[in-house]
């Protein structure tokens, strides 16, 4: 009997409603008093937060101290890639050396596992913190060629607007 009574009183005093409103009100008050930077919902793209250092984003291609490509075209990354997203072109140079003439990441295929980075014996390729990968225009924009990868590797941008791709 007391159970029923209890429910009746709660119903006529709009207890549940007030309880919910109290939560809403407290969040509202909190949102007014707390500083903006601590807010959980961010106003992306006006407000951006960098990804964590271990984030696996846009690939970057690295150079060594003398400014030459670290990559030697060994193809291990392409072999390691589970999504078959890497394409490497090499040729024989004038001194019979191996020259990397083309390196492409197919961003449609890549699953950002980072196995290329992990497998590379020359530390030539990294997955950077750049996470803004979406693009307008055509499919071509998603086949990342060597110049783009080098630019990203050099600049290590956190956000897309830091670099002109």
């Amino acid at each position: 009997m007391s159970e029923k009574l209890n429910r009746f009183i709660r119903t006529i005093t709009l207890f549940e409603l007030l309880k919910g409103l109290a939560l809403t009100g407290s969040v509202w008050v909190k949102s007014i008093v707390t500083p903006k930077a601590v807010l959980v919902t961010r106003q992306y793209p006006e407000e951006k937060r960098p990804s964590f250092p271990a984030f696996k984003g846009h690939h970057g291609f690295l150079k060594d101290e003398d400014g030459s490509l670290k990559c030697v075209g060994c193809g291990i990354c392409a072999a390691a890639c589970p999504a078959n997203a890497i394409r490497i072109e090499t040729e024989e140079g004038l001194q019979h050396e191996k020259v990397v003439t083309g390196y492409e990441i197919d961003a449609f295929r890549c699953i950002y596992c980072g196995l290329c980075e992990e497998s590379c014996p020359k530390d030539a390729i990294v997955l950077t913190q750049l996470f803004e990968l979406a693009d307008y225009e055509n499919r071509e924009r998603y086949i990342w060629k060597m110049d783009r990868l080098l630019a990203v590797g050099e600049k290590r941008p956190l956000f897309r607007d830091e670099i002109d791709l």
């Binding site: 075209g73 060994c74 392409a78 072999a79 090499t90 024989e92 019979h96």
Partner: protein
């Protein structure tokens, strides 16, 4: 194997029965026990040098090398133990201590035995600290890189070059650690067979066309057949993204048993060549312009129909192709016979195989045809007017294998060739006397009265043989060993006047003596094209035209009764204004047929010329319609090799641009012309063909007419007539590096030999004041060419030798266009020329 030949050996505590006479490593390979090795290779003589194959044999205290220790009955062998492991690791450690270890850059990586064994053994110590070998990489061979530092001194390359290729081009120089495997001056000349690349267990010998262009694991492999000569070697095409990257043999597969020649291995460059025709073209206002397929086919159909309407079906002539598949040729002859309505069908096989076939069809009964394996096993080889080492290099290897087993090789040829250099005896007969030689042999061995028109002395003088020499040649076909004698005949016989009579006579000798024969075949599908019916007087399966009802029933279309014209008769008809149109599928008569000017004039006097080809050949340039066709790698089909072996294969890469397989073009064109073929794919074509021609062999027997060919009378002029205006005699030869238009566009073959070279005797060169490399102008009655000379003191004075196939100096220009009345083959073996220095 009978029980007597088996022995039992215990390997790792298990008893196995193995054939007697094997080494331990061979026995282990057969029972599936793996023993690591560097230097051992089944097809080479054992060396015992690398010490990777160490094993223990019970009762012998020290470790033994499995590759040099014979397996004996009751032997107890252990292939894995701690002691063995230690010894093998020590060997590897020594190798690795000196190895450059640049696997990142090495094109062998992931297919490298040193890598594999290092992984297999895992923890290899590094106790030695001597400096790594600082040896150079040699690039003096245009096609093969020799990275001396990576060499593990297994000497496989040295042995394969000597024992299989017979080139003796590589030797081991210096001793011990700095040993170098390299080509040395004074050694043999490299023939670019690439065997040394195949057998090298590491990245010390590498294919330079592949150099740094990709890694082995990125390649896809597809089996195909070589598009060059009649041997029909099996190729493994390594492709990446639809392009051929390199070619090698696959294991021991195919008639080539894991060998290839320079053309097969390095001649693939034409397939993805930038000049490949990618779209159809038709002539509009004198200009060839690119159009789409629909327009090109409609245009062709309309024009052909118009010409047939106005001038009758006889006014169209067709050349099928000694390069195209059996199926394409089969459809081609059906197209000509049923859609166009005549039998004017021929191909460039007319220059070679057709004449031999005409001779063959004149001999009733069985004549044993040799296979390549028969040649390998032969005890005696008689080679007449042929140079298999250059025309059919794998047949050449079979011959060398026979020589290594002790076979006697006798060559009768006016030229000095790579084959004659291998012969135990070379009879340098007079140019053009191959046929009288065979007739003289026939007279001796068959005692035929009809041949008595020749007085021996007289005839022999013309051949330039003494009667003892003739007797010794005849001796090759006598006695018990005759059964193991193989007679090889080539274009020297088939391109001569009365060539068919000579082949027939030769086959009768061969049949009577129980020997066997093989005709060398220059182009990959000369034989298949003939057997598919690309002949003016024979239907598929070589059935005579009188048999046409059977074909009409299956085709549901009429087959004309009247025999057609052969190639040169068509050309003549065009010059006479009777032939109005040509349909040329995959042939390049302007370059390949003798008397270039005559051919050009004939083709240009035709109203309408259709050419189906891969490239803008000199023939295609004259065409009104060019239909781009797919190369061998881009289509499926079958080729019939020189032994008559029918070999199907499949496409490996997609066609370049809009190119289409020949068979598909013909089917679509037939539909445009209102007499459409029903085939939906190549398999249906093949089935129809095979049903019609059930057993190629028996068919050939049925088709034999047993006619005895005309025997030439004494008045026939054999060989050239002396002419003081043209004092030199030019003989044509074949080249390892060229075989048709495609070979001139293959970068590997250009690197093998860049330009044609006219070989002449130093005395002649002196008289003319030229030395090696100088250019001369060679002029005959019909044409002239400019070519550089190469001195060769083995060549007979007053004769010149020039290889066919080089586009920079084409000897075909120098020849006339006379044809033999029986074989209707033009003569293009020798011509009288004069020469002046440039």
């Amino acid at each position: 194997m009978s029980g007597n030949n088996l022995i039992s050996v215990t390997v790792n505590d298990k008893v196995y029965q193995v054939p007697a006479g094997l080494s331990i490593i061979q026995a282990a390979d057969r029972i599936g026990v793996c023993i690591p090795r560097f230097c051992y290779l089944e097809k080479l003589s054992p060396l015992g040098g690398c010490r990777m194959c160490l094993i223990t044999v019970q009762g012998i205290p020290k470790l033994q090398t499995a590759c040099t220790t014979p397996a004996k009955d009751g032997m107890v062998v252990v292939t894995e133990s701690e002691e063995i492991d230690k010894a093998r690791k020590a060997t590897l450690e020594l190798q690795l201590a000196q190895h450059p270890l640049d696997c990142f850059h090495c094109d062998k990586a992931t297919r490298c035995d040193l890598q594999d064994l290092t992984y297999l053994f895992g923890d290899i110590q590094h106790r030695y600290d001597f400096p790594r070998k600082d040896l150079p990489t040699l690039y003096d061979n245009p096609l093969i890189e020799r990275n001396l530092g990576r060499c593990v001194h297994c000497e496989r390359c040295v042995r394969v070059c000597e024992e299989i290729q017979g080139a003796d081009a590589i030797s081991a120089t210096r001793r011990g650690r700095p040993t170098e495997m390299r080509e040395v001056p004074g050694g043999g000349e490299c023939q670019h067979c690439g065997h040394c690349v195949d057998v090298c267990p590491v990245g010390a010998n590498l294919d330079r066309l592949f150099s740094h262009r990709g890694r082995p694991f990125q390649m896809e492999e597809g089996l195909s057949l070589c598009p060059y000569c009649g041997c029909g070697c099996t190729l493994s095409l390594n492709t990446r993204e639809g392009r051929i990257m390199r070619v090698w043999p696959r294991g021991d597969e195919g008639v080539n048993h894991g060998s290839l020649c320079a053309r097969g291995r390095f001649g693939w460059g034409f397939v993805n060549h930038p000049e490949r025709l990618a779209r159809p073209r038709i002539k509009k206002n004198g200009q060839l312009v690119e159009v789409d397929w629909e327009e090109a086919l409609l245009f062709t159909a309309t024009r052909l129909e118009k010409i047939i309407r106005e001038h009758g079906p006889q006014s169209v002539g067709g050349l099928g192709s000694a390069r195209a598949t059996d199926e394409a040729n089969y459809l081609f002859q059906r197209f000509m016979r049923c859609v166009i309505g005549n039998n004017n069908i021929d191909s460039s096989a007319r220059l070679g195989y057709t004449a031999g076939l005409t001779g063959r069809l004149g001999v009733a009964g069985d004549v044993r045809e040799a296979t390549l394996d028969d040649v390998r096993r032969a005890a005696r080889l008689l080679v007449i007017g042929a140079d298999p080492v250059e025309t059919n290099p794998i047949l050449g290897l079979a011959m060398k294998a026979a020589i290594r087993k002790g076979a006697t090789v006798v060559v009768a040829d006016p030229r000095t060739t790579l084959t004659s250099r291998w012969a135990s005896q070379h009879f340098r007969i007079r140019p053009g006397s191959e046929v009288p030689l065979i007739l003289a042999l026939a007279r001796l061995l068959l005692n035929e009265r009809e041949l008595s028109a020749f007085k021996d002395a007289d005839l022999l003088a013309r051949i330039a043989l003494r009667s003892e020499e003739l007797a010794s040649l005849a001796g090759m076909l006598e006695g018990d060993a005759a059964e193991q004698t193989v007679v090889l005949a080539g274009r020297g016989v088939t391109q001569a006047p009365y060539g068919a009579s000579a082949v027939a006579a030769l086959l009768r000798i061969v049949a009577k003596r129980g020997a066997s024969y093989l005709l060398t075949v220059d182009r990959n599908n000369e034989r298949g094209s003939c057997e598919a019916g690309v002949l003016p007087d024979r239907l598929p399966g070589l059935a005579p035209l009188s048999d046409r009802e059977r074909f009409e029933k299956v085709w549901g279309q009429k087959v004309p009764e009247q025999p057609g014209l052969s190639a040169y008769e068509m050309l003549q008809a065009a010059r006479d204004g009777k032939q109005k149109a040509f349909y040329i599928m995959g042939e390049n008569p302007v370059d390949d047929f003798p008397d270039t000017r005559y051919v050009e004039e004939a083709l240009s006097s035709a109203e309408f010329l259709v050419v189906q080809d891969l490239f803008m050949t000199p023939t295609a340039v004259m065409a009104d319609v060019i239909l781009p066709s797919a190369s061998f790698a881009e289509k499926a089909g079958q080729f019939t090799n020189l032994e008559g072996r029918v070999q199907p294969y499949t496409a490996v890469i997609p066609p370049v641009g809009q190119a289409r397989p020949d068979a598909r073009i013909l089917v679509e064109l037939s539909r445009k012309m209102g007499k459409g073929f029903p085939h939906k794919n190549i398999v249906e074509v093949r089935e129809e063909m095979n049903n019609l021609v059930p057993m190629k062999e028996s068919q050939r027997q049925l088709a034999c007419n047993g006619l005895s060919h005309a025997v030439p009378g004494p008045e026939v002029q054999w060989g050239p007539v002396e002419d003081s205006d043209f004092p030199y005699l030019l003989l044509t030869t074949a080249s390892l590096y060229r075989n048709g238009a495609e070979s001139n566009l293959a970068v590997g073959l250009q690197k093998g030999q860049e330009r044609a070279a006219l070989r002449l005797h130093p005395a002649d060169a002196q008289g003319l004041g030229v030395s090696d490399g100088d250019s001369v102008m060679v002029t005959s009655k019909t044409g002239e060419i400019q070519v550089s000379v190469r001195l060769d003191d083995e060549i007979a004075p007053d004769t010149l030798q020039l290889a066919e196939g080089f586009s920079d100096a084409n000897p075909k220009t120098l020849f006339g266009h006379e044809i033999d009345p029986v074989t209707r083959t033009p003569m293009a073996r020798y011509v009288q020329v004069k020469m002046r220095k440039l």
